[in-house]
């Protein structure tokens, strides 16, 4: 599903966020991406979501080489993945329903289909019945679940999450991780960037540990043993 092949990312200010990063994530895997602040976790997600492009190396997601993907195909690529943020990124002046429906609206889904999927997504995150409420009327945990519902409403094959438990207390953090695990259980590839090692440890999934833009642990996947070793 995701291949990073000797990927380097240098920002315009000269900071090298990633240095020759190589790893693979298979379809249907749930992978944690951990490391201290500035280790390069968010940059990995930015490259996957095509918010940034690699300076060197190759990023392949679902068969698409993102480094050479034409600008006109960027929107279509983003529609094929779901993204969850630490700060939720909800539209404050729109009710929960509109926030969750947003990815379906941009993809031109018919209204009936949109309605069906929004209710299903809200049901999955336990927020059915709160669709007319504004984000500000919800708790932080509920806001995060709205963000997750928005990320999965269009049934993406890949879900990337940037510090999804960063603002949550431990119980809520575990609850959110369980929710994400449920999506992996139905075949969605899930990549979670987090610095919360306690939460990670409880789930027993493969963990990629980043330090100063380099992978220090977790590159080897038993199902894909030869790829990194051959480099």
């Amino acid at each position: 599903m995701i291949t990073f092949d000797h990927v380097t990312k240098r920002y315009p200010n000269g900071r090298e966020a990633l240095s020759g990063l190589t790893f693979r994530i298979g379809t249907g895997e749930m992978v944690f991406l951990t490391g201290r602040s500035g280790a390069g976790k968010s940059t990995v997600l930015k490259l996957i979501a095509l918010i940034e492009r690699p300076t060197r190396g190759t990023v392949i997601v679902a068969g698409r080489n993102l480094g050479s993907l034409p600008a006109r195909q960027v929107a279509a690529h983003r529609r094929s993945i779901g993204v969850v943020f630490q700060d939720h990124r909800l539209l404050a002046d729109r009710p929960v329903y509109d926030n969750v429906a947003l990815p379906l609206m941009v993809s031109g889904s018919p209204l009936k289909e949109t309605d069906k999927r929004v209710r299903a997504a809200l049901d999955q995150v336990g927020l059915l019945g709160k669709e007319r409420m504004l984000p500000v009327e919800l708790s932080v945990g509920e806001q995060q679940r709205v963000g997750i519902a928005r990320a999965v409403v269009s049934k993406p094959s890949l879900l990337i999450c940037d510090e999804p438990t960063g603002n949550l207390d431990p119980d809520l953090a575990v609850e959110v991780m369980r929710l994400l695990k449920r999506f992996q259980d139905v075949g969605v590839t899930v990549v979670v960037a987090t610095h919360d090692v306690h939460v990670v440890q409880g789930f027993g999934q493969r963990t990629l540990v980043l330090e100063q833009g380099r992978l220090t642990s977790g590159a080897q996947d038993e199902s894909l043993p030869s790829m990194v070793a051959s480099r």
Partner: protein
């Protein structure tokens, strides 16, 4: 995407834009009012030109030629020459004004009746009043006709007073050019105003735009509500501009009618016509769309999502 879904998305974008404008009524009203003033000025000028043209249309076509005969030419000879003149191409009508009729009229209207009684001889000549056909009113045709009459040995003087008609035509021409220049300048102003309004709205909604782009919103999708906002501004401005001009025309129609009556005319001031309204609405919507499109294309390109 099916046509129904496409239409539904446009309807949502349209209603969303309408709702946003309605939620800030004062700012919206001020912007619409300024746009309306910018659109009303060229419409008002167009109305002025149309009314002046209509009011003076009868005079502008009335190019008459007066042919004065030498005093010794008898009236019978003048009438004979008048018959010849009527046969000529480019001549619509010829009337003979005898020296006796001219003196009687002069005596009646000049106020010198008593003094004229003292005259032994009638000093006024016989005159032909020649009215050219519509085709014969061009400067070249008038000059040819003038040379034709001047060639008659019986003729003393041929007088054609077309200068004031030419001046009036020139003034109307200046006004028409002024109208075109004003319309172009104000259209550019409307474009800039709507573009700037849309730019501010884009800045205010930057976070929302980032989220929409992050979930895969195409540039066309992100741009759509701003285009509707621009079109709504243009439409509302055009409607208000039409109302302002129609109101102004209604207010001055009475005094204009009074003035026309004093000049013996039944002229009634014409307000903006239906085709003016259609042009104005179409132009307003088009300018709104174009201003919003230019601004959105320029500013939305710079907004990319942050993670």
């Amino acid at each position: 995407m099916g046509i129904a879904a496409y239409g539904a998305r446009h309807a949502q974008a349209f209603l969303g834009s309408l709702g946003r404008l309605a939620r800030s009524p004062v700012a919206t009203a001020l912007t619409v009012f300024v746009i309306a003033l910018a659109l009303a000025l060229p419409l008002g000028l167009k109305l002025l030109v149309a009314n002046v043209t209509a009011a003076t249309g009868g005079f502008a076509g009335a190019v008459n030629m007066s042919v004065y005969f030498k005093p010794e030419v008898p009236l019978e000879r003048v009438r004979l020459l008048a018959r010849n003149a009527r046969e000529r191409t480019g001549v619509a009508a010829v009337s003979v004004i005898s020296s006796a009729d001219a003196l009687a009229e002069f005596r009646k209207y000049s106020g010198f009746g008593a003094a004229l009684q003292a005259l032994i001889d009638n000093p006024l000549p016989n005159v032909l009043d020649v009215q050219p056909t519509a085709e014969g009113r061009s400067p070249e045709a008038i000059a040819t006709l003038e040379r034709y009459f001047q060639a008659w040995p019986e003729v003393d003087l041929v007088q054609v007073d077309t200068a004031w008609v030419e001046r009036l035509d020139a003034i109307l021409d200046v006004l028409e050019h002024l109208l075109a220049v004003t319309a172009a300048l104000l259209a550019a102003g409307v474009l800039a105003m709507i573009g700037n309004t849309v730019r501010l709205e884009i800045q205010n909604r930057r976070a929302e735009i980032e989220v929409v782009k992050l979930v895969g919103g195409s540039n066309a999708f992100v741009r759509r509500p701003f285009l509707y906002t621009g079109m709504l501004y243009g439409l509302a401005g055009a409607v208000l501009a039409w109302c302002l001009v129609a109101l102004a025309a209604a207010v001055i129609a009475g005094p204009v009618a009074t003035l026309a009556r004093l000049y013996g005319s039944h002229y009634v001031l014409a307000g903006p016509a239906l085709d003016d309204a259609l042009w104005l609405l179409g132009g307003g919507v088009l300018l709104g769309w174009l201003g919003a499109w230019i601004s959105a294309a320029r500013h939305l390109r710079r907004i990319e999502p942050r993670a």
